[in-house]
């Protein structure tokens, strides 16, 4: 008797789920709804950056690198293949120059093509 009751209980739940319809989304055939705070690719407002290097110092995955040519001239290079998308660079930047976007799918054929220069001030000597 108890076994019969347990079957009926589960059947009612199954029926309710059947009427609810699918709960999964249609991505990649439909666009994916991402929350506003989604931590995706890192971008930089180059004119706000003063080259203090805090983002590079705090990056736990060494995804950011700073190349200094002299006091005013530097270059910040970002490697998404190393990035953990933790958002620490965003927290560390006192000038609000760096932030994480909703871009989550930067597909390339060669991994080296992912590397990009976020800020460039001046050119290397020689």
């Amino acid at each position: 008797m108890a076994k019969k009751l347990s079957r009926i209980f589960l059947l009612s739940k199954l029926w309710a789920v059947f009427l609810e319809g699918p709960t999964t989304g249609g991505y990649p055939f439909e666009p994916l709804q991402l929350p506003s705070g989604f931590r995706g690719k890192v971008v930089m407002n180059a004119h706000l950056c003063n080259g203090c290097g805090l983002c590079v110092q705090d990056c736990p995955a060494s995804a950011l690198k700073i190349e200094r040519f002299d006091k005013q001239h530097f270059r910040i290079v970002y490697n998404p293949a190393r990035c953990a998308y933790c958002g620490q660079c965003e927290i560390s930047c006192h000038r609000g120059a760096i932030h994480l976007t909703n871009d989550f799918n930067p597909a390339v054929q060669h991994i080296g093509n992912l590397i990009e220069v976020l800020v460039e001030r001046g050119l290397p000597k020689g």
Binding site: A2, K3, L5, S6, F9, L10, K13, L14, V17, T23, P35, G37, F38, R39, Q57, D58, C59, P60, A61, A84, Y85, C86, G87, Q88, I91, S92, L100
Partner: protein
């Protein structure tokens, strides 16, 4: 009767993480078992000595993929107490909110894994479908489903606005109803009873002998919970009960975890109701004064302990992590001895092992 050995793992459908069992069988009965660990050792404790306190927040988050937030919470609590930083009340509320969401997510994930291993795919799919509600809330707030990066030294980096608060209250109330349904299935479904009742039973003496913590201890009537015993993150302000059961078998652990998830929803709703205004974090100095600290918290699987030693620089001198599931692994050979081969999956799933936590 002749004996033979069945190897399970390190890669096996029963195990969600790499772990190796060598089961010695006599007919269908398990007579001996040997467990091998170390397949996901990443040297996190050593690595943490080479990194700054700020970088380590993200490193300790990767100790475990399920209880990632509680690792950073415990680590940040330790560093904050060494540095003498006081976290704003709103920041503490949000930390607790994430900790409880993580507990719900962990328990539902575990229920799904157990049901799958028992061959009960309906509950597996229901549990993982309902878990998405929690993951959506966490993603909405922090931008990540599993690695939330919500904690910083000095508070949290996430905040809730009023409209989010309202929608999250509705979502959590609907989740509470869905968890009640799951509980009804677990309590009434006779197949579930047949696979989990009187299997993998642990007594309170065994629990104390092996220093087992968390839901497994509470399912054997050992009343330990860091949230109540050593309150942190303002847990003393919230109304919740510590669930205990006396049966000590896999079924008791299942119902206890479902009840705990419901208690966590209760805490989350209280937080959303009474969230105070103000800042969520304060800026902390990069260098931490010399000293040492032990910090404890209640992770979804039990008591989590962090020992942090500082030499006054911006990097810790030593970090030691004691995760809750190592003693559960120690008792597993005793639990497996004498059971039927078909029940191995129920017993192994029942203790909710986290190999990534144990290996670090």
């Amino acid at each position: 009767m002749s004996r033979f050995t069945v190897p399970i793992g390190p890669q096996h459908p029963l195990l969600k993480e790499p772990l190796s069992f060598q089961l010695t069988l006599e007919g269908e009965e398990v007579v001996d078992s040997v467990i091998r660990l170390g397949y996901v050792h990443r040297g996190i404790e050593r690595l943490s000595e080479k990194r700054t306190y700020i970088q380590n927040v993200h490193l300790v988050e990767r100790v475990c993929g399920i209880c990632s937030h509680v690792h950073t919470t415990t680590y940040c609590m330790g560093v904050e107490s060494l540095a003498g930083v006081t976290v704003p009340v709103r920041g503490l509320y949000l930390r607790t909110f994430f900790c409880e969401l993580e507990r719900i997510h962990s328990h539902l994930l575990w229920l799904g894994v157990l049901a799958k291993n028992l061959g009960f795919d309906t509950v597996f799919m229901y549990a993982w479908r309902d878990r998405e509600i929690v993951l959506d809330i966490m993603e909405e707030l922090s931008g990540g489903r599993v690695s939330h990066a919500a904690n910083v030294i000095g508070g949290v980096r996430v905040d809730i606005n009023d409209s989010q608060r309202k929608t999250m209250t509705v979502s959590l109330k609907s989740l509470s109803q869905k968890i009640t349904d799951l509980r009804n299935i677990v309590e009434h479904e006779t197949n579930f009873h047949a696979r989990t009742r009187d299997i993998g039973t642990l007594t309170a003496e065994q629990i104390r002998q092996y220093c087992i913590v968390g839901p497994i201890a509470r399912a054997s009537n050992v009343d330990v919970d860091m949230r109540r015993d050593v309150p942190y993150n303002l847990y003393e302000k919230f109304d919740f009960s510590v669930i205990t059961r006396s049966e000590g078998d896999v079924w008791a652990r299942t119902t206890l975890r479902i009840q705990e998830a419901q208690e966590s929803i209760k805490i989350c709703l209280q937080i959303l109701d009474s969230l105070p205004p103000g800042a969520v974090a304060v800026r902390a100095k990069r260098r931490v004064p010399p000293g040492e600290v032990i910090c404890r918290s209640e992770a979804p699987r039990g008591e989590l302990l962090y020992y942090i030693q500082s030499d006054g620089s911006d990097r810790p001198a030593r970090i030691k992590i004691r995760t809750p599931t190592l003693p559960s692994l120690a008792i597993l050979p005793d639990l497996l001895r004498g059971i039927n081969m078909a029940d191995v999956s129920a017993v192994v799933s029942g203790v909710d092992l986290c190999i990534a936590c144990v290996d670090r």
